[in-house]
Amino acid sequence: MPSAASKTSTTAEPLAEFREDFLKALRSMVLSRTLEEKLGSLYRAGGRIVGGVYLGRGQEAFSAASGIHLRWGKDVYGPLIRDQAGRIAYGEPVIDTLRTYLGTVTGPMRGRDGNIHRGQPKIGYMAMISHLGSLLSVVAGALFARRLQGRLGDTVGATSIGDGGTSTGAFHEGMNMAAVEKLPLVVSIANNQYAYSTPTARQYACENLVDRAAGYGVAGHCVDGTDLLECVKTFRAAYQQARAGEGPQIVVGRLLRLGGHGEHDDASYVPDLQKHTHEGRDCLAVAQRQAVEHGWLTEKDVLDMQQDAKREVEQAMGLVMKEPAPDPYRENWQALSTAWLVEGQEG
């Protein structure tokens, strides 16, 4: 039985081994932030994005530090609302985000589903439905099948949830099942202090959500979600354990959602004071500072990285803007893949 909750120690240790992971995560964070700022301004401009915009501002370090461990086309990933940075770290091109928000037919969801509800299940990249908690068992099932087929190898699965999502029955059932099956699954719990407007005191009564790990019989890790270096260290350990056959790993990150639930929400319910606490600091600024402090990047490198990200987002945006919106008359209105079972369409 794995130990319940192990805090990653923060004492002096050789950092060089984390450099590569750190920089990869940082690049994803910068690109994610840039992309999301674009989405925010598109939303505010109105017209092009119909529906909500849900951003991961403040959660990039935690999300990216997980995503860098996932291999596009090889591992199984089921990201959630605030995982733009993790998706990029995993390998999703930014254009897929834009295409999905704008609902173009060229995007992975072809205008049928939008915004954060995207993925490519065929390559192990699961597309969340809205119902919180319900993706966990799906990711677990993919791993289960691979093991059954004898091709699990060193593949691993990962998924995320928020503090609020841990209250769902689906989360519990999925977590428990994954534990019983001892699947190589890393579950990130981004405790950003709010579920929409609801503070954690109305969501759970335990000291720390990592206290749930023991109840599932899985390993638990806690990390300061505003500190990229710590996140990188913690997730590396978690992924190593998962790949080593030690079963599911729960990683709880403490942080603050730096924005509204969606761009329609001004988050006026978050007290100003809280924004100035440790958990309220901007993980991107922290990470950039860390990179410079550790001599991994110069100030100029940091600026270049931002410029590169801007260019990449603008370029993708330029392409997407020219792409066609779905045409209902050319749409194939078939919910079944078996064409001969589709009934004559009503209406």
Binding site: V50, G51, G103, H117, S197, R202
Partner: protein, 321 residues
């Protein structure tokens, strides 16, 4: 000048319910300080301290707790953040709430508010209409208000009823629909002739009432007088009013926004065909959404659900027969 929105009517009804009966309380995600995802409970937490509660993301437990509370004499109003999320509270609704009275002789007066139906850009999981699902189960009352007046009075009445009510309020109407005042209350379970006519009957409900009324208006230019019946309550269903209308017009189109297989529209047609076959001068028709999940992109969404023009087209087909 019309000034009260459908959404405000829902807020006001909850305000009244809280004021009238100390046993009423509200429970739902983000409905306290925040006033709810749609602001349907705006300020109510402040106006009624200790009676409006933020719930965890636990739809099953939310309904279960409401049932337990109702048994003890409380009158909970539960807000689902979107109708679609009631799918995870489904079991408590259909198996616990709906069966309680019949099994134990103990009434279960809970009201479950389902922000229902499609709006542009909301996608497959924030657009669903679940009235047909719940209506299938014995022991539930399913209300589908289409007007500001009904939103207000029917919600107030729901809270007074001794039975579990699934209150399907349409999100598209929240801001779009306005009225001068709350008008008159009409009994629950009665349909309403929303527009009198003689050439054909459209039976519909919720947001589709307004599309249907516009379609009827369009047909007037062709010289047809189309009667429009607003079901108001899909279970119980006011078969008498439907049949009386069909008796006048001889032609029937049933319009609903939900998925096409089964549900309200087929139930209406089955009743009319079984009980008043001889009144029909033409085959009864129905119009629903397409048989796919509800699409995200507005272009697709507009084609997925019935609209004024698709209803008008269907009516022309019906009238040509």
């Amino acid at each position: 000048m019309s000034s009260i929105t459908y959404l405000e009517a829902i807020r006001e009804a909850q305000y009244e319910a809280l004021k009238e009966n100390p046993n009423v309380f509200l429970y739902g995600q983000d409905i306290g300080t925040f006033g709810g995802a749609f602001k349907a409970t705006k300020n109510l937490g402040r106006e009624f301290p200790g009676r409006v509660f933020d719930a965890p993301i636990s739809e099953d437990a939310m309904i279960g707790m409401a049932i337990g509370a109702a048994v003890e004499g409380a009158r909970p109003i539960i807000e689902m953040q979107f109708a679609d999320f009631s799918s995870v509270g489904f079991n408590q609704i259909v198996n616990q709430a709906a069966t309680l009275y019949w099994r134990t002789n103990t009434p279960c007066p809970i009201t479950i508010r389902l922000p229902s139906g499609g709006t542009a850009g909301s996608g497959p999981f924030h657009s669903q209409s679940m009235e047909s699902i719940y209506a299938h189960y014995p022991g539930l009352v399913i209300l589908t208000p289409a007007t500001v007046e009904d939103a207000y009075w029917m919600l107030l009445d729901s809270v007074k009823l001794e039975d579990p009510v699934i209150f399907c309020e349409h999100k598209f109407l929240y801001y779009h629909l306005k009225a001068d005042d709350f008008g008159q209350s009409m009994p629950i379970g009665k349909a309403r002739i929303a527009r009198p006519g003689r050439d054909a009957t459209v039976v519909t409900y919720s947001a589709m009432l307004h599309e249907s009324l516009r379609a009827a208006e369009e047909l007037r230019l062709d010289g047809y007088e189309v009667e429009v019946v607003d079901l108001r309550s899909v279970k119980p269903m006011d078969t008498d009013t439907i049949l009386a209308s069909v008796a006048r017009t001889g032609r029937l189109l049933v319009v609903g926004e939900a998925f096409p297989w089964g549900g309200v529209t087929s139930e209406v047609i089955a009743r009319v065909a079984s009980e008043a076959f001889h009144l029909l001068d033409a085959p009864p028709l129905r119009l629903n959404s397409k048989d796919t999940p509800i699409p995200y992109h507005p272009n697709l969404w507009k084609s997925h659900r019935p609209t004024t023009s698709s209803i008008a087209a269907e009516l022309r087909k019906l009238l040509r027969y």
